[in-house]
Symmetry: C2
Subunit: 411 residues, 2 copies
């Protein structure tokens, strides 16, 4: 096997991937296992259960975990261990497996990650808050209780930054500000970027950030928090090896991110539905680059006693209508503008630093190069599996839509 990333090969780290059955977690687990690391996946299958609840499905087939792991062992000769644990609830089980495995690194994907799902109903809001905050806090507490020096790599979201702010380029986590002392002196300081989460889901990521700040300060836990953009693309080098290793492709109104939804709509002859004017600017990254970035984060841990490292894991920004045009050009599908269910500005600029990952040598896959493959290899190929009822986005942000506050910087 010839992994593209073989030149980074430093095998033998013990790595736990929490949420390793999910869209980002599965390809990450294979990538790290392929690099020769000893990987253990933890997942509670809540994402598969949510498919049942929503009566929706991945466009691509998602095989049972046992089948996935056997296929991987067949293809790569590598063994991945798996434990079904709800990390938000089963604290003792998580502690036990951490004490047993003594991981060098834990990659934490295990959260409810859909903004629309988090806004569906009070019960969905409560589930998202409860699941995500207890998941992250339990993990931090386990790391401290284990007494091990574990590097925690967490996936955050650029959605906590809000919609871009009055010409400020969004920094990697920390913002330079000037404040005035009581005696009128001006001080230059650096603070956590004041967040303006877009949904209950994003709110949990802002709150996670405070958990990390605290545990890093009080217990010197080493943490890298990757504020990720919208991940597009389906397969990586490893998941492409066999259909049984195939990754999820969510297209429904709740879990399908914007690009997947456009691709699927085009493939089944539905017009491409743009919310509002499509002037919203969003940040993107390809799934292949996600797994590389996680590898980079693992290979460049913060020093002991260093503050939380925060990086923006995005490679491009696009306006939604530009994206729609891109897909329309590739497929011939028409574009349709529909009312926006979200509380957000019609148009926004977004400028985000991503110097860190570029400085580490990432050579990103861009939308205008990689998109055609998604059209032919995924959307068209699996179009027969689509459930048409699941195409519209039905979760709204408020009962009657209200004007939102779009800026954490008031005044």
């Amino acid at each position: 096997m010839n992994f593209e990333s073989a030149n980074f090969f430093k095998p033998g780290k013990k790595i736990m991937v929490l949420g390793g059955d999910g869209f980002c977690g599965w390809p990450t687990s294979l990538h790290l296992s392929g690099l020769g690391h000893e990987v253990t996946i933890i997942d509670n299958f809540s994402r598969r259960n949510i498919d049942n609840e929503l009566e929706s499905n991945s466009l691509t087939p998602v095989y049972p975990m046992g089948t996935r792991l056997n296929a991987w062992e067949e293809m790569s000769g590598q063994f991945i261990d798996f434990h079904r644990i709800d990390i938000a609830v089963e604290y003792e089980k998580l502690l036990q497996i951490v004490n047993e495995k003594k991981p060098d690194v834990i990659v934490h994907f295990a959260e409810q990650r859909s903004a629309p799902y988090s806004m569906k109903s009070p019960a969905h809001k409560r589930y998202t808050i409860n699941n995500n905050l207890n998941a992250t806090h339990n993990l931090l507490s386990v790391i401290v209780e284990s007494g091990l020096d574990i590097h925690l790599v967490h996936l955050g979201s650029v959605g906590i930054y809000g919609y871009g702010t009055a010409g400020i380029k969004i920094p990697e986590g920390y913002l330079d500000v000037e404040v005035q002392t009581e005696t009128g002196e001006r001080l230059k300081k650096q603070i956590l970027y004041p967040t303006n989460p877009e949904s209950i889901y994003h709110l949990t990521k802002s709150q996670d950030q405070l958990l990390f700040f605290y545990y890093n300060k009080n217990d010197q836990v080493r943490i890298t928090d990757l504020h990720q953009g919208i991940v597009w693309g389906t397969n990586t080098n490893e998941t492409s090896l066999d259909e049984r290793l195939m990754n999820r492709f969510d297209y429904d109104g709740d879990y399908g991110t914007v690009l997947n939804r456009f691709l699927m709509q085009a493939a089944v002859g539905h017009p491409i539905t743009v919310h509002g004017t499509g002037g919203q600017t969003r940040a993107f990254i390809h799934i292949q680059d996600t797994v590389r970035c996680i590898q980079l984060a693992i290979e460049n841990p913060p020093l002991p006693e260093e503050r939380v490292m925060i990086f923006n894991q995005v490679t491009e920004t696009y306006r939604i209508r530009e994206l729609a045009e891109l897909v329309s050009n590739l497929t011939g599908a028409p574009i349709q503008y529909v009312p926006n269910p979200r509380n957000e500005p019609a148009e926004n600029e977004l400028s985000i630093s991503n110097d860190h990952l570029l400085s580490k040598g990432l050579n990103p896959i861009t939308l205008d190069h990689g998109l055609m493959q998604e059209v032919t290899m995924i959307a068209r190929k699996y179009a027969h599996r689509v459930n048409h009822a699941k195409i519209p986005a039905t979760s709204t942000w408020t009962k009657e839509k209200q004007p939102g506050v779009y800026d954490a910087f008031s005044k």
Copy 2:
């Protein structure tokens, strides 16, 4: 009955007090009921159960809720309704009672509020995170689901500000900063003060603040968040009317705040134990002023669509050793310096704005005037009830104490 605050009398508001069996909640409930408001108390008695767990007790007798409410009806002729509900867990019950009562105001005290308790063990950390965040989030979700225009008054803590910052006077919630745009322009902005919580307990208050920011932005919930200092004193005008109405006086190492612990130590002939050098500066407020401040908050709600109102509910700051000297002078007890179990700087300055409550006419009770009454009427009177084993503070912040980061403003 002649309530001192009778001139504020605007009776007839429907007010729910969550955590109304607690140290602040009970006197607040009586005060608001005495003003002629229709009060409903919600509590799950978790604080009483924690006394059982810790094998500790209030120095003053705390009567059962039924006895308390009957005594209040006898003394004042006013009825207070009570429901035992765990607001972090029993969402549907909370929703039902809110839909029934249709409160104008909900005062939210119902959180685990001891910093040392929150640091005792992983289980205590997890309980505090889980209880406090779900309690606050459930309440916000209930308010939105009810569709009622309810003013939420929450008790936060000045402990989220950290230990004072390089000469910056801590503002009431929002900090003025200057930031630079991508094109080099300087912008004046106002942001939520970047918090630096002192413990897991305080962390939950920082996270609550983000919940409030979000629900105010997305759902226009009207919220006042009162960042309170350490509350001292035991009784108010109303709790003094009858022994059955008496308020809690916590003196143990976990729930006893610094002043109560000093008073109790002096009363039982134990030296006054100061942690570290006693150079830590802390902010204080008397319980009688707490209940008045809550009344002020209720009478001055934010406008619809206004951002979260944040005020600092403190009236004085003292260094711990000054406080020890004050108690030593009043009682003759000697002072003893012991190692500090907390991660905090040995000495800190603390300058906190409290313009709002002063502008609303609060005339504070000061420590040098009110303290003698606590010595004679509480500490000496009930000294026979003390459990000597509970005097030392045993919760430590880390296994081996580490140097902490004392400043949310790094660099």
